[in-house]
Symmetry: C2
């Protein structure tokens, strides 16, 4: 496979974007990415887009073709990929493989979800499709409940406290306050999280990522063409994906996401790096406990020490490893199909030194970690600036 | 890119399969394809699956991970792709690119849809997501209505008759009567079609493909490994995809699907063949008029002559070009996400000489043609037996 780099990035404001529809969001992000790459639409040879459940949210499937059409990109091939909340990460990986293969030189990879046109109860139900419908959701389980089980088990096995878990939210809101694209730009205190209303104990409202509208796009090019578009190509040096049981009850272990372990080890190997080389990472904090699992499973901290490490500030901006500088899913927001692509947008900005107030100093290698469901899919990418 | 071949194929019975669920169908097809390749599941390195709207039909998304899990394939990467009724064709193309790139040596490509668990009116609505929700479906349009407009225009421009259009159904039911996997194995007469109840004039009930449950799987391998699994690898010698406007009212022309023209010309060029080299083709006859458009747009017959050619028997089994030997979407059935893969299964059987009563004699090159929506996506593959 050929070497592949990100040459342009763009995203919309994340939030309750009631003035704009599904197609408006992805067009805005796509246009920004093209402008960022100083590229015309007709230079694109194909389009990949992650979206989890536009059929349920806006009654629209066939969104690859819809986007190609509304972006004025016909007749290029347009492919939607889906892997629940990992849809964006999978889209990035498929775009990477397609350019790496030589099938195309330049492709756009997008992610989009429009989630606020339906009542919250309907959204919770639609998102339930990320789990095992017949054996989990049909029985009354919801995603806050699934992650609450993981949190309880982590607390029991490792003595992790509710305060440690809550400290993830405090950090991510602080990071989000420095991100103009974030859904929540307000700082919160540990007390705010602890006093927020229980959703699925031990998880409280401020432990949960929100329902969000938003889109993100990156433009990929073969490395030999990348320099035509940017002085700072961000190369995809590692890309890996892994699957695990879709139902939580089928796992041997509730406190490790095996798919994260496998995907990250394969991505590190491919990129020839170790966790210690990663100074900035966007990880999948759909719930605060998920970030604790992630930083352990990715190898940044030992199993069981993620909560303590977070509470001690070791994952803050410019600490040992800067986790979720964008604010993460928790504060930046979680338009499910867009999240995996937005993570790559943020890491690209970080590696280019364009992250403003939330810039991680001297970041040269970054990582994105995108989860589908309760861990049945994990996609990890390692990105590096090419000078 | 490396050369890639189909080394195993399998499909379920298509029909109203009320005894089996979504996951049962894809597992059955997958198991058959593995058995056909004489391969164990752990030899697969990744999984691609086309499914249009499992969220709407069975409240289940994240179906890549679901299938990997229920097939016992964890932790390999699993990707669902969606492009409305072209989801299966896109899955095949993505699997082809992935093996061609060298990312994997062996992948399974599946397609599945479970459509009969919901009322027909709900299904019609869900399928409407293949069109432009905001400008077509929301206004009351349905897919029979869209194809009826194309039929009326074809009749007006070229003098095509309702009987000529109906003759597609008669031929496809005759082919389907020779296919044990077909949903409809009954022969019908021209009179049966003409007297069937109007759905969206000029299209009548027997001009329409049915609502179907079913799944199909092909196993792909790099050509250098293919001979380990089969004596008759079926090489993918051409693969192309194109997009067009998602709404019918945005097209310059209602009687040509531009995406078919572009995708087929690109696939022919890649395969170094002309339409005259193709002796057997599975084309997208979601409605009878769609087969007439397809055989013209693919270059088998001149524009406007498809109806007459069909009525004259020139597309029957072992005539000039054998169109839809499986019975097509009309008689074999149309489980939307599975259709594009089932087309490849049928062509593989034909090129191997394993199609029994419906065998096309001396077929060495075959074609699959899969459409999404009213023509916003088209995927064409050219397949050739490797001796």
């Amino acid at each position: 496979m050929r070497r592949v780099a990100i040459v342009g990035v763009g995203e919309t404001k994340f939030g309750e974007e009631w003035e704009r529809g599904f197609r408006d969001l992805i067009i805005e992000a796509g246009t920004r990415a093209l402008e960022d790459a100083d590229m015309k639409g007709n230079e694109l040879e194909a389009l990949y887009c992650g979206s989890m459940t536009p059929g349920m949210f806006v009654s629209q499937e066939h969104v690859g073709a819809l986007i190609a059409d509304y972006m004025g990109l016909n007749p290029i091939p347009a492919v939607r990929v889906e892997g629940a909340c990992a849809s964006g990460g999978i889209a990035l990986r498929e775009g990477y493989i397609a350019v790496g293969s030589g099938a195309y030189d330049i492709v756009a990879v997008g992610g989009v979800e429009k989630m606020t046109d339906v009542p919250t109860s309907f959204a919770t139900n639609a998102l339930g499709g990320a789990g095992d419908q017949e054996w989990e959701l049909f029985m009354g389980m919801t995603f806050p409940g699934l992650y609450a089980l993981m949190a309880r088990r982590h607390m029991m096995e490792y003595g992790t406290t509710e305060e440690q878990i809550a400290s993830v939210a405090v950090k991510n809101h602080l990071n989000g306050s420095k991100n103009k694209y974030a859904q929540f730009q307000n700082k919160i205190t540990l007390e705010d999280v602890m006093k927020s209303k229980p959703i699925a104990s031990p998880l409280k409202l401020l432990d949960c990522s929100p329902i969000t509208d938003g889109a993100a796009v990156v433009v990929l090019a073969s490395l030999d063409k990348a320099k035509m578009y940017t002085d700072t190509p961000i190369e995809i040096v590692g890309s890996a994906q892994a699957s695990d049981s879709i139902a939580l009850h089928d796992r041997e272990n509730l406190t490790t996401l095996k798919a994260t372990e496998i995907a990250s080890r394969n991505a590190y190997k491919m990129a020839r790096v170790t966790p210690a080389d990663i100074k900035v990472a966007e990880v999948h904090d759909c719930f605060t406990i998920a970030e604790i699992l992630a930083i352990e499973d990715l190898g940044f901290f030992k199993k069981g020490e993620g909560g303590k490490a977070t509470m001690e500030g070791r994952t803050e901006l410019n600490a040992e490893v800067s986790i979720n500088p964008s604010g993460g899913l928790k504060a930046c927001g979680h338009p499910v199909g867009a999240t995996g692509v937005k993570q790559a947008v943020e890491i690209a900005w970080q590696l280019r030194g364009e992250a403003g107030e939330r810039q991680v100093k001297g970041a040269e290698v970054g990582l994105t970690h995108n989860i589908g469901g309760s861990g049945a899919t994990c996609v990890v990418h390692v990105l590096r600036r090419v000078d």
